[in-house]
């Protein structure tokens, strides 16, 4: 805990009652690390005492510090190794490229650091430590909140800030002024206390003595507690969202519809407590997709203001409504949010087989590979008729939205818009492996059972197509036609019920943090004593202050109090300890 309240560089011990604000630091300060509260050299601890010792260790500030460092350190690998939950494609690519390391990393949980056992262990221990600190401190604070400001210490000059001066005003007048000057403070001048003190002093100084205690800034500790409590709220919110919510991704070609059910998602990550029945029954049709690519200047080629039109219904019977979603402007349906994540092209490809029948026809999603939207895609034709019986065909290759060619670069896409689309794919025949029962990616060909279709000269056949062109496959195997272009959008559909709890928690945490850092708890005492007797009796006034947090201009504040106590300018003050 940020117990900056006890960092007054040892001043806490100058008066009674200060050292008792049980903070974490003091617990450790008293007991030190690794030393049992009982006899250090004694026999092994009894189980109960061991537990107590362990609890005290766990909730000590040192342990909390070490756990914080561990947490920071443990978070690092998650930024270096691709994370399953952040980018599954990247994680699997990494696995393929690192055959020796991947199994080790897998065992260590390095592909999902933030829900690995060791990462969880660290933050759970930290939370236990935090609770173990908050509870006792809340109790102490509750008591302190109702306690009166402590009476003036016997010797005010030992406090970090101390002023003394003489005045002709009566002690009562001075105290009255002090009450006015100490606005914002809780001020107490306990009669019994004062008379006892006065009684104790009368014998030595021969004068009467009055005193006043003032305190402010008790809310600092409240802010501190609120901050730490809010961290728990945030975690509960996140945990709730992660357990009950879900997050799915889907690619929809314009003109197609999506209904919110499990089978429609390309990838779906439910929380552990998520039930499929919790999916809101909406559906929508992606009517169109709008994008402007900047054509001129340095930023030529940058996609600009892209948005997708949706016709959606909140449930199958409901009325259809139209809306547009874009980056930074998602659509919310009953707490489920639909985001536009990215976009790309889906060329229409028709494959005819040896008999001339259409074996495949429709838009095929090609995934963009770079800023020019050069894209990669695969066509799988499982039911074609070959010249000699059924066979399967596969095509894989690139789409260039604006095809261009130079000898130096080979084919490339000169612009991301579809100004001059071209396909360039290799063709395969054989077994696509779809019947093995192993789920396959729709974006990759399993080439185990496939062999490239060769041209008469023995080189692999490349199917190069401009829009509306047809290429005939050799040996009467059929043809491939490039019929048209559509766009697709990648959407994210997600629901995380704990979000508002977490957000509220963070805001409360910030408020608490501000309180715990900027509220300055301090105490001020004023003591007045009549000296001697007769008509020209003088009143000796002492003012002292104690800053219970680091920083803050206590000296300046005490000077102000002194100035207002003296009222009209009088004689030079008898100051001591001006500079500390």
């Amino acid at each position: 805990m940020v117990s900056a309240g006890s960092t007054t560089e040892g001043h806490g011990s100058t008066t009674e009652g200060h050292g008792s604000s049980t903070g974490r630091s003091e617990t450790t300060g008293r007991e030190g690390m690794g030393s049992a509260p009982a006899d250090p050299g004694a026999a092994p601890l009894a189980p109960r005492e061991f537990l107590r010792w362990a609890w005290r260790q766990l909730t000590s500030m040192r342990t909390a510090l070490i756990l914080l460092f561990l947490l920071a350190l443990a978070a690092v690998p998650g930024s270096v190794v691709p994370q399953e939950a952040v980018d599954a494609t990247k994680a699997s690519q990494w696995r393929e490229n690192h055959h020796t390391l991947a199994p080790i990393y897998q065992k260590l949980g390095l592909f999902s650091v933030y829900d690995s056992a060791w990462f969880s262990a660290i933050y759970l221990l930290l939370m236990v430590s935090l609770v173990g600190c908050i509870l006792p401190r809340t109790r102490v604070y509750w008591k302190a909140l109702r306690a009166r400001p402590p009476a003036a210490p016997r010797n005010l000059s030992r406090l970090p800030e101390h002023r003394a001066f003489e005045t002709s005003a009566s002690p009562e007048q001075v105290l009255e002024r002090a009450r006015g000057a100490l606005r914002g403070y809780r001020v107490v001048s306990d009669v019994a206390e004062v008379s006892r003190l006065a009684g104790a002093r009368t014998s030595t100084t021969g004068g009467e003595e009055l005193s006043l205690s003032a305190e402010r800034g008790k809310l600092r500790e409240a802010g501190n507690l609120l901050f730490h409590l809010s961290i728990l709220v945030v975690l509960v919110g996140f945990a709730g969202g992660a357990l009950l919510g879900y997050k799915g991704g889907v690619i929809v070609v314009t003109g197609n519809t999506f209904a919110n059910s499990l089978s429609q998602y390309d990838d779906f990550r439910p929380g552990s407590l998520f039930k499929p029945s919790g999916l809101a029954p909406f559906d929508f049709k992606v009517t169109d997709f709008d994008v402007t690519f900047i054509k001129e200047g340095r930023e030529a080629g940058m996609a600009h203001k892209f948005s997708a039109g949706l016709d959606y219904r909140t449930s199958p019977g409901a009325a259809t409504r139209h809306t547009r979603i874009s980056v930074n402007h998602p659509l919310t349906i009953d707490g489920t949010k639909i985001y536009l994540i990215s976009h790309g092209y889906a060329p229409h490809i028709t494959v005819r087989d040896a008999t001339g029948a259409i074996a495949y026809s429709g838009p095929v999603v090609f995934l963009p590979e770079d800023n020019t939207f050069k894209s990669w895609g695969v066509v799988k034709v499982p039911d074609a008729q070959g010249p000699s019986g059924p066979e399967q065909l596969g095509l894989e290759g690139e789409l260039y939205p604006t095809y261009a060619f130079t000898d130096a670069t080979g084919p490339f896409s000169a612009f991301p818009d579809d100004k001059n689309p071209a396909l360039s794919m290799l063709a395969y025949q054989g077994d696509l492996g779809l019947d093995d029962g192993v789920p396959q990616s729709v974006y990759a060909l399993d080439k185990k059972g496939l062999k490239p279709i060769l041209k008469p000269d023995g080189k692999p056949l490349r199917v190069d197509l401009m829009l509306n062109q047809t290429v005939t496959l050799p040996d009467g195997m059929g043809s491939v036609t490039f019929d048209g272009m559509s766009r697709f959008v990648k959407l994210q559909v997600s629901r995380s019920p704990g979000d508002l709890v977490a957000l509220g928690g963070v805001v409360l945490a910030l408020l608490g943090l501000l309180g715990s850092l900027f509220i300055r708890p301090r105490r001020v005492w004023v003591k007045v004593r009549r000296d001697g007797g007769g008509p020209d009796r003088r009143t000796l006034v002492e003012v002292a202050g104690l800053d219970r947090s680091a920083g803050g201009d206590l000296a300046g504040e005490i000077d102000q109090v002194v100035a207002s106590l003296r009222g009209a300018p009088q004689q030079e003050p008898v100051r001591d300890e001006e500079q500390v």
Binding site: A4, S6, G29
Partner: protein
Amino acid sequence: MSHDQFEVLSNQAVAVCAAAYFLALLAHLAEWATARSVPATATAEESGTASAAGGGVDVLERVDVDTDRVARFARIGVVLTTVAAGVHLVAVASRGLAADPVRVPWGNMYEFTLTATLMVTIGYLLLYRRFSLDWLSPVVTGFVLVTLMVDVLLLYTPVVPLRDALQSPWLVIHVIAAIIATGAFTLGGMCSALYLVKERWPNTREGGYLSRLPGLDALDRMAYRTQAFAFPVWTFAALIAGPIWAQHAWGRYWGWDPKEVWAFITWVVYAAYLHARATAGWKGRAAAIVALIGLATLWFNFVGINFFFGSGSMHSYA
């Protein structure tokens, strides 16, 4: 003025303010070099290595002359820094005006660094009087100068419009908070670094730079104050404004994107600093080291992430 002209103006202003920072640095170096011949007691009260300035009248007169020169160099340095800050502000503002449409100048790392260094200077100038920061002058001017050079040499990017993901009011809120926090953490880190240096070599030559630094307690307090200010701002930038925006743009509050991971690490390390400062055995030296680790993670997050994991981060433009 056209957008292109504003861009040229911005680039020229960066060059001019760098030159002004350089002159300010020279003035402050001259200040401290001159001060070497003056006993610390003659100019600064806070020095702990006070000793009687013995010698005859000649010596005292020379000391007087030198003290005047020290003060004059200090003034020149601060005036030059103020001028540099003004030109720096012009550089930042015209950078925003250079874009079409006009936008806040925080669209990429070059612009972020340009603004963050300005924040460091402004923070330093604002606190200069109140905390008599003359001892911090050479560090601030030197740091800002070097960072600006690196910025221009390595990070320079021509002005381009904001990409769609950045077109949100949260850009202003999230980024300005991050920039302010970065500036304040940097100032605090300078104090922590000076604390460590002073703590390591407590008995340096009298009159030298180190002997004129404030006492260890004062350095520690200054470091704490700036960092305690920066911490809630960072909390707001990284853990409130950032997630809210991320929720709008990417559909999740927190996704452990590398930038987010390191923002979290920075936050945890500075939380550890605030705790360390209040813990027996960690006060002082250890706490200062923790603060510097925090600053290192902050700057690494800002620059390093883009170079090492640039393609993998959704913050690759920042």
